[in-house]
């Protein structure tokens, strides 16, 4: 049995718990997240409602659990898209250099010049809000960081002798990139991807806040927070729980990312 970093295990557990809560939402909570009960609005946490109720008397815990589905999948899918796109473009730019690099790097610069959030807003205004649109758009506007990181890694890695050695045993360019360079350079990308998950969850919250994200009554952590702002003074629990959920999830992803980075660094492996 290999020894794992304790914090990384903690991160993995957090992410796993959140993910399983999202997957098994109907089994965890008996309440319907959309059931309105105006007689019980703004109830503080109690035995019936362990996280209290919101201004429409809906059970906050079940809204949180169902909201995890949306928030986690937005974070995961969006970052997945941006990491894959970033790695492909960044490694091509880094490996081939020359005009390929110029074209891709300028494209990265152009994308970075856009105020991303407004680009997302404009695209959603055209395509219409919807969870898949949001995932794809957040993903396609967030790949530049990963691309730059992997490009920089590959620029330095490709001068190493093992690349020459791989070519000397008959490996093709594609094989060298995919099997030799990317595994060596993926560490920083994974770490930044875990931060990206956090960013994507927050972007989704912001979009929900502006009414362009996940549409109520479907709950997401972002739109629960949005609704909470009007009752912030009298019902602390509606802001605290989704806020904590986002914080803990983001932390979990970060620790997991740190652990993965170590896993990809053989010098720390035994």
């Amino acid at each position: 049995m290999k020894k794992f970093n304790k914090l990384a295990v903690f991160g993995f557990v957090v992410v796993a718990v959140m993910a399983s809560a999202a997957v098994f939402a109907p089994f965890i909570t008996g309440c319907d997240p959309g059931a309105i009960d105006l007689g019980n609005s703004l109830m503080p946490p109690s035995i019936q409602h362990i996280m209290g109720t919101d201004s429409l008397g809906r059970d906050l815990f079940s809204r949180m659990v169902y909201g995890a589905r949306i928030s986690l999948s937005v974070g995961f899918v969006a970052v997945g898209i941006s990491v894959v796109a970033g790695i492909i473009l960044g490694s091509l730019a880094g490996y081939y250099g020359g005009w390929v690099d110029s074209v891709i790097s300028r494209f990265i610069d152009i994308m970075l010049c856009f105020p991303t959030f407004f680009l997302i807003l404009a695209t959603i205004a055209v395509l219409g809000p919807g969870i898949w649109n949001i995932m794809v758009i957040i993903g396609l506007t967030g790949w530049m960081g990963a691309a730059r990181l992997i490009r920089a890694e590959i620029l330095s890695l490709k001068e190493r002798e093992f690349v020459e050695a791989a070519r000397a045993v008959g490996a093709s360019d594609l094989r060298i990139i995919a099997c030799h360079l990317i595994p060596n350079g993926i560490g920083p990308v994974l770490v930044s991807a875990t931060l990206g998950v956090a960013g994507a969850i927050l972007t989704e919250s912001a979009l929900s806040f502006l009414g362009l994200g996940v549409q109520p009554p479907v709950p997401s952590w972002g739109n629960i927070l949005t609704e909470a702002k009007s009752t912030l003074g009298i019902a602390w629990w509606i802001t605290v729980f989704p806020g904590l959920a986002i914080l803990i999830t983001v932390l979990g992803y970060n620790l997991l990312g740190e652990g993965l980075r170590e896993h990809f660094n053989p010098h720390r492996r035994q």
Partner: protein
């Protein structure tokens, strides 16, 4: 010994081009013949064009270098005319390389075993299981102690000499006809150097390997090579049997090189 050389280089010219400047010649009309079952020592100082000549055999030259003219024939095939696809099949399986610095020639994130297995499976449809056995076999060919444990080691866990053995194991894993060793002992200390050189001679005997040994150290050549070629400023200035060259060097540069060897004992 066969009449036809296994590798023949004729009037090879290679130039390096720097952006918008004229190309700088690195090799200027090199001629070389390498017969099957021989070790040929290619000697010369830094920048004399030995490595570039060696890399050009399978067209592994860096982007800025270009073969300007000449002929390279390996086993009857014109290497400069071969399509890239066929060339990849030759690399690693029929001609393989061992480079100078074993610390950086191995990919740090994979185990030694994975890298040898990759080389084997790249050439010819062999299952991973068979490739694993072959890899263990070539590790024991190079005299590695406990080869099946080394298979699961990462490069940083091995010493310099063991890494170079691992590189040689990888190079011979497909039973190549020609092994090009580019300064294989330069990064190693003297005792390990001797072991690696002995290993090369033994492999030559046992596997019928032909070796092109590139070095700047004439004493290494005198130890293992049957033939010697001396390279200076992109030209082969002297070529022949090692013993003869050692006894009666004809070119002043060779004489100079020989007089540079510190005399601890008579050669």
């Amino acid at each position: 010994m066969r009449k036809e050389p296994l590798l023949e280089i004729k009037d090879l010219h290679i130039g390096f081009s720097q952006a918008a400047k004229e190309s700088v010649p690195a090799v200027r009309g090199a001629n070389l013949k390498l017969y099957e079952g021989e070790i040929l020592g290619l000697v010369g100082e830094s920048g004399s064009g030995k490595s570039v000549t060696a890399l050009s055999v399978t067209r592994l030259l860096p982007g800025s270098a270009k073969v300007i003219s000449g002929e390279i024939t390996f086993d009857g095939a014109d290497m400069l005319d071969l399509p890239e696809e066929d060339l990849r099949k030759v690399r690693g399986s029929r001609i393989s390389y061992v480079f100078q610095d074993p610390a950086s020639s191995l990919n740090p994130v994979f185990t030694v075993g994975e890298q040898i297995i990759e080389t084997i499976t790249l050439h010819g449809g062999i299952s991973r299981g068979e490739a694993f056995d072959l890899a263990v076999g070539s590790l024991s060919d190079v005299g590695m102690p406990a080869p099946s444990e080394i298979m699961f080691s990462y490069p940083h866990q091995l010493s310099g000499g063991m890494r170079q053995r691992a590189m040689i194991a990888m190079a011979i894993s497909c039973r190549p006809r020609l092994l090009i060793a580019d300064e294989p002992t330069t990064a190693l200390d003297v005792t390990v150097q001797a072991q690696i050189l002995d290993l090369l001679s033994r492999l030559k005997e046992r596997l019928g390997l032909t070796v092109l040994l590139i070095t700047h150290d004439l004493s290494i050549v005198s130890r293992v090579a049957q033939k010697t070629a001396v390279m200076q400023q992109g030209r082969i200035v002297e070529y022949g049997d090692t013993e003869l060259i050692y006894k009666r060097p004809s070119h002043p540069y060779t004489k100079g090189l020989i007089s540079c060897i510190p005399k601890m004992r008579n050669p």
